[in-house]
Each structure stands twice: as structure tokens, then as C-alpha cells.
Amino acid sequence: MNLLSKNIFISLILALIPAACFADWELNLPRGVTPFSQDIYDLHMYVLWIVCAIGVVVFGAMFYSIFVHRKSRGAKAANWHHSTKVEVLWTVIPFAILIAVAVPATKSLIMMEDVSNADMTIKVTGYQWKWHYDYIGEDVSFYSTIHKDSNIARQRGAELDPFDVDHYLRDVDNYLVVPTNKKIRFLTTAGDVIHAWWVPALGWKRDAIPGFINESWALIQEPGVYRGQCAELCGKDHGFMPIVVEAVPEADYLAWIAKKTEEKALVINDSKALDQMNSIVLTEAKKINSGE
């Protein structure tokens, strides 16, 4: 027994060493900024501790016999090879543990699948290799592609060093701006192959499947910039279609929407003006050609 506890002690120390020296490295899931992501984080830690505990028991027993029941220490082998009692026991106990895992997991899942009563809807469409965002009910929609610095640095033999780029491979030209504390319904789909829209801070990823729409939701509690990327192999530039979500207070969001709507109107007006000019030029040209 003495040895057993010593083993457990040693393995715990060993487990802590990496944690200590990699203190500033990211080692774990982010807690995230939605109620759902925090549930998931808790569930993750809960299951992790359970398996660690089982591991300590199982590996502890194993190391104990490795040290104690070795021939070189003169151990004599017993001859028993059956015991219905313990076999039932170690069928039933894991089963009970699994139920203890399944119950909270079921609760979280039910909550996550409930997309009703959303305050707003954003349609996300994946393309090779960019994202398109569509604010349903607003006149705002745009593409979002990898930021040009990252795009330069990622080329083979690039002069620019990835370490010199801010948010290398995690930055885009147009951010997805959303309000905080609103239940946002996301509709994910794709235009060519399957992609997956994933921002870890929101707590989930969802496949974007051509021809079908998947629904998910998020309610972001803290303003901030959250980064993620495509999480389903979608061809050569799969690694290069990042996602950036900027959560801002509602007032700022509304201002942003207004600005975007206006910009779009301007663009449309501009193109109308351009069309008019073109047709004037054309008619003039015709006139000249026909010698008038």
C-alpha cells in the first residue's frame, strides 16, 4: 500500500511538470464567452477528471503489481483466474459512471439544440476559400477572406515571417460584427464543398453543407474579438479560411449596421451612376461613329 500511494504521488508530480513549465502555453479548452461554451467547458473538465481518476486506479494497480509481483523479487504466481463477483462489480461501476456523464451531457445538448426565440439571424455560407455573411432582415451581406498579411506570409518562400504578422492565419479583411447579449441564430451552409464554421469561444462548430442549412445559436456575454477557422477539410486552402467575430454592445452594433447599409446603398448608387455614364458614352460614341 505504501508503494501504491508513493506511485500515485510520483505520477501526480510527473503530471504537474509539463503544466508548470508550459504555464504560458495554451493547454486547455477556452472557457468561452457564451453560456453554452461555459457549460461545455465544465462538462469537459468533469469528464477529464473522471477518466483521470479511473486512470490513477487502473494504472496504480498495474504499477503496483509490476513492482511487487515480479519474478525477480521472488514473487510466486497464484493460480486463480476467475471471480464472478469482481467481474460483475467492474461492469456495473463503469456503467454507473457513464450514467453520471450522460445526464449532464443530455441537458447541455438539449439546451444547445434549442434555437427558438432568437433575436436575430445570420446566414453563414462557406466557399472555397472564404466565408459569406448575410444578416437576415438587414440589407447587409459581405465576404470575409484571409487578411492579406497572413496571405503573403503563408506562401512558400515568403519574405514575411509568420511570427511578424499579427494574428497569423487568424485574421480577415471583414469582421463579422455582432451585438452582445442577444440570442443570435446562425444558419450555416456552403456553396461548393463541406466546410465547418468554428469559433472556439462560442463553444461549438457546425458543418456547412452544400444544399442544406444547419441551425445553431450563440449569446455572447462579453464584447471582444473572437477568432476561429474553417474546421472541415475543404481543399487546398482549408487551412486559410479564418473567421473573426467582433462582439460589440448593441448600440455600436446598430451604428455599424446603419453604416454598412449606407455603404451598400452608396455602392449601388455608384454603380447606377456608372451605368448611366456608360450609356451616355455609348450613345455619344454611336453618334460619332454614325458620323452625326
Binding site: 508550459f22 495554451e26 493547454l27 486547455n28 461545455i40 462538462l43 469528464v47 477529464l48 479511473i54 486512470g55 487502473v58 494504472f59 498495474m62 503489481s65 509490476i66 509481483h69 515480479r70 514473487a75 504466481a77 497464484a78 476467475h82 471471480s83 469482481v86 467481474e87 461492469t91 456503467f95 457513464l98 451531457a105 445538448l109 438539449i110 444547445m112 503563408r154 512558400r156 515568403a158 509568420p162 511570427f163 494574428h167 492565419l169 464543398v193 463541406i194 468554428w198 472556439p200 461549438w204 462548430k205 458543418d207 453543407i209 452544400p210 444544399g211 442544406f212 476561429g228 477557422q229 474546421a231 472541415e232 477539410l233 481543399g235 487546398k236 486552402d237 482549408h238 487551412g239 486559410f240
Partner: protein
């Protein structure tokens, strides 16, 4: 022909060819087993070289060595070659060598079919590897071949599909042979509940193969017709669904992962009692647990697709069935530990690999269990956490068990002891480097690194570098294995028939190396005490 063959069987079949023709046309289970094992070793090195290219590119952020498209090809080919070329043929090789000897038979039930199932493989893999040189490059859509992406493959596409058909035919033929052998060729007195566990796990594996590989064949056939004949199985525009492919694929794919691990359970169940000098604990519960795992493996497939947007009821169902697999697998792990308890252990290389297997496979099982919890899998899915999970079960699981089995039976096969010192080096180098290689990948995944990317954000740089260093170490360590095998074939200390002090089972009653036709006379029924003593 002689009435009662009391003399050596070779005399009847002295006609067997020599030289290269011997290997091309052989119907002998040992020859075919050897072919399988050598083939799988070659494939392990080819697939491993691809893994080294992957790790090399991931050594640092930024693209240094390969283009993204080629990187994706390497990932895809690495997986296909390791699974279909290295691990599966290795298990069939073990089955060929050992099963007739373990059940007291002269050979396999269908020897010519046996030759065929091997001689498909070099051709199938020639087809697959030739795609590396084709316009548009080798397949790059992942080993899971999801449409629509895989339909963008260039000239390689039909070669990929036909290569999968071809390997599938080989696996099915091999599996049928094993099942027929075990059910039909057992020596008198070798009842089912006396079968060594390796044989048991292999029949159940055989059943999984026969039931699941044809489904893969169907799935890739639909890909082929979608690409070339205008069908719309996987296109929403025509009323189909890309996700339908995933369902069909994983209906094959999940049983497939147990195909890769069940024989490993069998080998470990043979090795631990031998070096513990104590009977295996809970023989019959081992058999039932294997059966339960096999059954469950057919109803858990959608745990690979929790994020595709299944209805809630589906997600719950697949979560429950998935975590349930922990129960029978746990029974196995506990039984192994109980076998060690109050035993008298020694630690020769097969035992070391087996013990490494028990611990590291269990760690892989634990991460599997975490993945099975649907809401959390929404975070884990398609990250390096998954990559870490499956390399723990595949490399420190399946491959470690293969190594254990190879060291365990190599003296029987060759008649020589391998070099124990070198082998211990092989184990210790492997077990350390493999953890350096794959353990940090858990952290990478949790921190948000997706899988199947050639380049990554800089916060992942440190762990990737550690992992690549481990990868290089693990790769180089495997060269030791080849050296040991070659030395052992060439010569070495003469092995006794029993080889290991605690060895149990019919294969150890034959000479080392065994005669060309294993049991030309059925062994004494009295001497058959069963794999569990």
C-alpha cells in the same frame, strides 16, 4: 496417394515451386503469412515516410517544404496506407501464421483463396501509389473521402475508387478464410471455449470485415457513379445528401477501427499470461466482451458526425451507445490487470510492448470516451485532440500490439531468438518518443488547432515542434526493428520449442521453426487445455 500419412507432408507436395515462383504461387499458410507480414512492414515504412513529411511541414509555422495540396495528399495517403496497407495486412499475416498452429490444423481452410487475398494487395497498392504521379495529384480529400470534395480529385479519382474495391476484395477473402478455418479446421478436442483469445478476436474481426467492407465498397461505388454517370446520391440539387455518404462510410468506418484493434486485444491476452506465469483472468468474459464490442460497433457510427446537424434524438442515441463501449473494453483492461495481480512477472520485450499497450491504449480509450460526449465533441471535433486520440489507439494500440506479437512469435517463426538488448532499446525509444509525438497533440487540439492543415497560427508553434521532434525520434527508432528482424532471420541463438517459460498453447508444441505443414497429425485432444490453461 498414401493411405495414412505418418511421414512428413512435404513429400506429397514436394511439387511446390522454388525461387520466386514459390512465393507467387504458394498455398502454404506460413509462406502467405510471411508475405503478408513483409508487405505490411514495407507499407508501414511508406506510410511512415509520409507521416514524416507531414511532421516536417508542421515543424514550424509557415509553408517550408510542400504545397497545401500535396500536404493534403500526404495526409490522405498516409492514413489509407497505414490502415489498409500496414495494420490490416499485418493482422491477416498473424492470422495466417498462427491460427492453423493454434487450433491444430495443417493449413488454412481455403489455401488458394488465401494466396489470392495476399496477391491482390501489391496490385491494389500499386494502383493507389501510382496516383502520386498523376495530373491533379494523389487523392487529397482525407481518408474519409467525403463528397463533394473528393469529387474534385483529378485523374487519381477512379484509381482511388478501384484501389479501395480491390483491397476490400482482399480483406473479405482473407476474413472468409479465417472464419472458415476456425469453424472447420479445429483439431478434435479444440472446442470453441478453448480457443486461444487471439483466435476468438480474429473470428469476430472476420465477421466485422465481412459485414462492413462491402458497405464501403457500396459507398465508393456511389462516389464513382456520382462523378462519372450523373447520379445524385450526394448532391442536394438532385434530392440526395452529402451527409448520406458520411453515414454509409462510418457504418463501415467505425467497425473498421475495431477490426484494427480486436486482434491486438487477442495478442495482449496471450502475452500477459505468458510472462505473468498465471492464467488469463476471466477468459469467458473476455470472449463475451469482444462480442459486445463488435455488436456495439455497428450502432455508434454517427459519433464521427456529431457536427453535421443530426436531429437531437440521433445525437443522443449515438452518444449513449458510444460511451457504452467503455464497459466491455473496461472489462478487458481490468482482466489484464487482474491477470498481473499476484503473478510472477518478467519483462521481456513482448511483455514490455504489451504493458505499454495496456496503458497507452487505455489513455486513447479515455480520450475516445471524452469525444463520445456529444456537446463537448462540438469543440473537439476535427481538431488535433481527435488526432491524438486515434494515434494513441492506433499506434500505441494496434502497432504496439503488432510489435509485441512480432517479438513474441519471431523465435517460433525463424527458429532463432532475436537480440533482446536491441529489442529493449527499440521498446524504450519507441515508448518515450511516441508520447513526445502524440501527447502534446491533445493540448494542440484543446487550444484550437484544427486537423488537416499544412500551416497553423503561431500560438501552436511550440507544441508542434515538440511533436515533430518526437515523430522523428519514433520514426528512427523503427529502423531498429528492421535491423532486429533481419538479424533474427539471418541467425542467432537457437530457440527452443516452447521459447518462453510460461508459454501455453498448441503453437509451442511444434518445433521452432515449425514444419511446413503445421499439424499433419491432429494433436492429442487431452493436451488441448485451452488458451486460458
Amino acid at each position: 496417394m498414401s493411405e495414412v500419412a505418418t511421414h512428413h507432408h512435404d513429400d506429397h507436395h514436394g511439387a511446390h515451386a522454388t525461387g520466386i515462383m514459390r512465393w507467387l504461387t504458394t498455398t502454404n499458410h506460413k509462406d502467405i503469412g510471411t508475405l503478408y507480414l513483409l508487405f505490411s512492414l514495407v507499407m508501414f515504412f511508406i506510410g511512415g515516410t509520409m507521416a514524416m513529411i507531414i511532421r516536417l511541414e508542421l515543424f514550424q509555422p509557415g509553408l517550408q517544404f510542400v504545397d497545401p495540396q500535396f500536404y493534403n495528399s500526404m495526409v490522405t495517403m498516409h492514413a489509407l496506407i497505414m490502415i489498409f496497407g500496414a495494420v490490416m495486412p499485418a493482422w491477416t499475416g498473424f492470422a495466417n501464421w498462427m491460427i492453423p498452429m493454434m487450433i491444430g490444423a495443417p493449413d488454412m481452410a481455403l489455401p488458394r483463396l488465401n494466396n489470392w487475398s495476399f496477391w491482390i494487395l501489391p496490385f491494389a497498392f500499386t494502383m493507389l501509389l501510382s496516383t502520386l504521379f498523376m495530373p491533379g495529384g494523389a487523392p487529397a480529400g482525407g481518408w474519409t473521402m467525403y463528397p463533394p470534395l473528393v469529387l474534385q480529385t483529378g485523374d487519381a479519382f477512379p484509381f482511388l475508387i478501384f484501389a479501395v474495391h480491390f483491397m476490400g476484395a482482399s480483406s473479405i477473402a482473407g476474413a472468409i478464410n479465417v472464419v472458415a478455418t476456425v469453424f472447420n479446421m479445429r483439431a478434435p478436442g479444440m472446442t470453441l471455449m478453448k480457443l486461444p483469445l487471439f483466435v476468438w478476436t480474429w473470428i469476430i474481426t472476420g465477421f466485422l470485415l465481412i459485414a462492413s467492407i462491402p458497405v464501403l465498397a457500396g459507398a465508393v461505388t456511389m462516389l464513382l457513379t456520382d462523378k462519372f454517370f450523373g447520379t445524385a446520391f450526394f448532391s442536394a440539387a438532385g434530392g440526395g445528401d452529402p451527409v448520406m455518404f458520411q453515414h454509409i462510410f462510418w457504418f463501415f468506418g467505425h467497425p473498421e477501427v475495431y477490426i484494427l484493434i480486436l486482434p491486438a486485444f487477442g495478442i495482449v491476452s496471450a502475452i500477459i499470461p505468458t510472462f505473468a506465469r498465471k492464467p488469463l483472468f476471466g477468459y469467458s468474459s473476455m470472449v463475451y466482451a469482444t462480442g459486445a464490442i463488435a455488436f456495439l460497433s455497428f450502432i455508434v457510427w454517427a459519433h464521427h458526425m456529431f457536427t453535421v446537424g443530426m436531429p437531437l434524438a440521433g445525437e443522443l442515441f449515438f452518444m449513449y451507445t458510444t460511451v457504452l463501449i467503455a464497459v466491455p473494453t473496461g472489462v478487458k483492461v481490468f482482466n489484464w490487470v487482474a491477470t498481473m495481480w499476484q503473478s510472477s512477472m518478467t519483462f521481456e520485450t513482448p511483455m514490455l510492448f504489451a504493458l505499454g499497450f495496456v496503458i497507452l491504449f487505455t489513455i486513447g480509450g479515455f480520450s475516445g470516451l471524452m469525444l463520445g460526449v456529444t456537446p463537448v465533441d462540438f469543440q473537439y471535433h476535427d481538431t488535433y485532440f481527435v488526432v491524438a486520440h486515434f494515434h494513441y489507439v492506433l499506434v500505441t494500440g494496434a502497432v504496439f500490439a503488432l510489435m509485441a506479437g512480432a517479438y513474441f512469435w519471431m523465435p517460433k517463426w525463424t527458429g532463432h531468438m532475436y537480440n533482446e538488448t536491441l529489442a529493449k532499446w527499440h521498446f524504450w525509444l519507441s515508448v518515450i518518443s511516441v508520447n513526445v509525438l502524440f501527447f502534446p497533440q491533445h493540448f494542440l487540439g484543446l487550444a484550437g488547432m484544427p486537423r488537416r492543415i499544412p500551416d497553423y497560427a503561431v500560438q501552436f508553434a511550440d507544441f508542434n515542434m515538440v511533436s515533430s521532434i518526437g515523430g522523428l525520434g519514433y520514426g528512427i527508432s523503427q529502423i531498429l526493428f528492421v535491423i532486429i528482424v533481419v538479424k533474427c532471420i539471418r541467425g542467432g541463438e537457437k530457440a527452443t520449442d516452447e521459447v518462453w517459460e510460461g508459454a501455453q498453447g498448441l503453437e509451442w508444441t511444434l518445433s521452432s521453426p515449425p514444419p511446413y505443414h503445421s499439424f499433419t497429425e491432429a494433436p492429442d485432444p487431452e493436451s488441448i487445455t485451452g488458451g486460458h490453461r
